[in-house]
């Protein structure tokens, strides 16, 4: 018999377990926790969208769709991109409906990476970027950022990270976990480097609708970038539809065709009911999105002020629904802080290290929770921090 060391592949074994997962297991052991650790909207999907899904089921929409997704949905997305950024994406062959941005990300990486190709990833970043790059056979090259630069990257940092194996730059603004956004001017400087070194960009803009202090800039709208950017976006955050699993990729024909090739054999298509619901979201979801936007914006100001008042230094983030305060004054590591806070005051936050090594000294607090709960959490955290600082 063949000798084996277990059945799990080495590639999978080598990926460290998710920091979030570890924390989740801890939290489920404790009752009455206020969680600022949730990376999805606290709103339930607007009723008109849910109603459309129910109606679609009644009508018998229970089949597969084409691999690329329902043409009406692709048309709706094409119009949305034109109206918002003035860019033409053909619904026929430049837009692919994916099972969330999660699948879009995986497809994009697998479609472009040859073994050993490098992908530049600014950190702290969304938990999937590095593992997905590795699963696709690529090598993540991290650009660490911190609060001093507002968790933004500079063209110089990108240039320094580039080698002759660099294939792509993975951008995500507004950012999960920091909420950082980059202005058009700042992004243009990055675009210059991208053009100079002939890189591809994967731009995860899932939080673009929640950009607060300026109009959102899509990377694809910068001169010369549309052709070399895979735009990833979706319905999870903007329309509070995380459980529906609908996203999309937009890009040039060649790359979308490559992504579709993988998608057709691995996913076949996204759920038709969710696609129907997404069509409705695009058609009639504007006012619901605006309401959620206003609410997040108000909470953002309340939580930033509250954290600074209790001594956890925190910048006003420009987007998403996260703040990333520093906990360095407490002398604790991120993980120790989060654990202690959970046990002593029953407030859940995510240690910054779950999003990269440079997240040490920070925690991620999500304000996708009601204002009342945010205020209660701030009170408990204030007590916690006061106790910590008095002890030493």
């Amino acid at each position: 018999m063949l000798k084996r060391n277990g059945f799990v592949s080495k590639a999978v074994q080598d990926i460290p377990p998710s920091g979030i997962r570890k924390f989740f297991d801890l939290i489920t052991t404790i009752k009455d926790v206020i969680s600022l650790g949730i990376g999805e909207p606290d709103f339930v999907t607007p009723w008109h969208i849910r109603d459309m899904a129910i109606y679609s089921l009644e009508q018998g929409y229970t089949s597969y769709t084409s691999n690329a997704g329902l043409i009406e949905l692709r048309q709706g997305i094409s119009e949305h991109l034109f109206n918002n950024y003035g860019l033409q994406y053909s619904p026929q062959d430049e837009i692919l409906i994916t099972v969330g941005v999660s699948e879009g990300l995986d497809l994009a990486l697998r479609a472009i990476i040859n073994p050993g190709d490098e992908v530049i990833i600014p950190e702290p970043c969304y938990v999937s970027y590095k593992p997905c790059t590795i699963f696709a056979g690529g090598k993540p090259v991290v650009i660490p950022t911190d609060a001093d630069t507002g968790f933004k990257i500079t063209p110089r940092q990108v240039e320094e990270a580039i080698t002759d194996r660099t294939k792509a730059l993975l951008l995500s603004y507004p950012s999960n976990p920091t909420g950082a956004t980059m202005s058009k001017e700042e992004l243009m400087k990055i675009a210059n480097v991208v053009a100079k070194y002939n890189l591809l960009v994967i731009s995860d803009e899932i939080y673009s609708r929640f950009t607060y202090d300026m109009p959102p800039t899509s990377f694809v709208s910068l001169a010369g970038m549309k052709e070399r950017t895979i735009l990833l976006n979706g319905f999870s955050k903007a329309y509070a539809m995380t459980g529906w699993r609908i996203g999309y990729a937009a890009g040039n024909k060649e790359i979308i065709a490559a992504m579709t090739k993988i998608h057709q054999y691995t996913m076949l298509c996204a759920s038709i009911i969710s696609q129907k619901a997404a069509i409705e979201a695009l058609r009639n979801g504007k006012s619901a999105v605006e309401e959620m936007y206003n609410e997040y914006n108000q909470r953002r100001r309340v939580i930033v002020r509250g954290l600074n008042e209790i001594g956890l230094k925190c910048q006003m983030p420009g987007g998403a629904f996260y703040v990333f305060p520093s906990i360095k004054t407490t002398g604790l590591t991120s993980e120790a802080f989060a654990e202690k806070l959970l046990f002593e005051e029953k407030v859940a936050v995510v240690p910054g290290t779950a999003f990269g090594d440079c997240g040490e000294g920070y925690i991620r607090c999500s304000y996708a929770t009601s204002l009342e709960k945010i205020e209660e959490a701030l009170e408990r955290m204030g007590k916690f921090v006061r106790n910590l600082l008095n002890k030493v």
Binding site: F24, S35, I38, G39, D42, N294, Q298, R301, V302, A348
Partner: protein, 164 residues
């Protein structure tokens, strides 16, 4: 035209009339003094009409009955429906009054201690007014949502405690 911040303040107050102006100030990104001044102006202009409380009287054990009364009216020359409306809303039993498009003209919301009391009011006071052609009464059996507020307990949070 209202400024965006005025509208934002109104929306906040519409949901919670008791909220402190310092808190509104943080939420909308203004100073407390600016918020207080804006609220005063909105009150003076009559845009903020009144601060009220939604009460579930039934829960308090009080007998309160409401009915929607459809009223068909012959409008008066020159003054249209307004004169009739005025005569109706002066009654303290009338909780709200609306002029509607469609098959009837006025919708009168009447509040009383019992169905009998309301029926008496309609028959004796409302139906007997000049210009009233007819009335149809609908008693409220159960309230589900008042002024944007759902009365049932809120649905629980179905999300996991931590997600990426």
């Amino acid at each position: 035209m209202l400024e965006a911040k005025d509208k934002e303040i109104l929306k906040i107050l519409e949901r919670d009339a008791k909220i402190k102006s310092e808190k509104i100030a943080t939420m909308v990104g203004l100073s407390p003094a600016e918020v207080t001044a804006k609220i005063k102006e909105l009150e003076d202009k009559g845009i903020i009409v009144q601060y009220k409380t939604i009460i579930d009287w039934e829960k308090a054990g009080e007998e309160v009955v409401y009915a929607f009364i459809e009223v068909k009216v012959t409008p008066e020359r020159d003054v249209g429906f307004d004169a009739v409306a005025k005569r109706i809303y002066k009654f303290p039993e009338v909780h709200s009054l609306y002029l509607l498009s469609g098959t009837y003209d006025l919708s009168v919301v009447v509040e009383g201690k019992s169905m009998k009391e309301i029926a008496y009011f309609v028959a004796e006071k409302l139906a007997t007014l000049d210009n009233i052609q007819g009335t149809v009464s609908h008693f409220i059996l159960k309230k589900y949502k008042i002024d944007g507020k759902v009365l049932e307990p809120e649905e629980e949070d179905k999300r996991l405690a931590v997600t990426p």
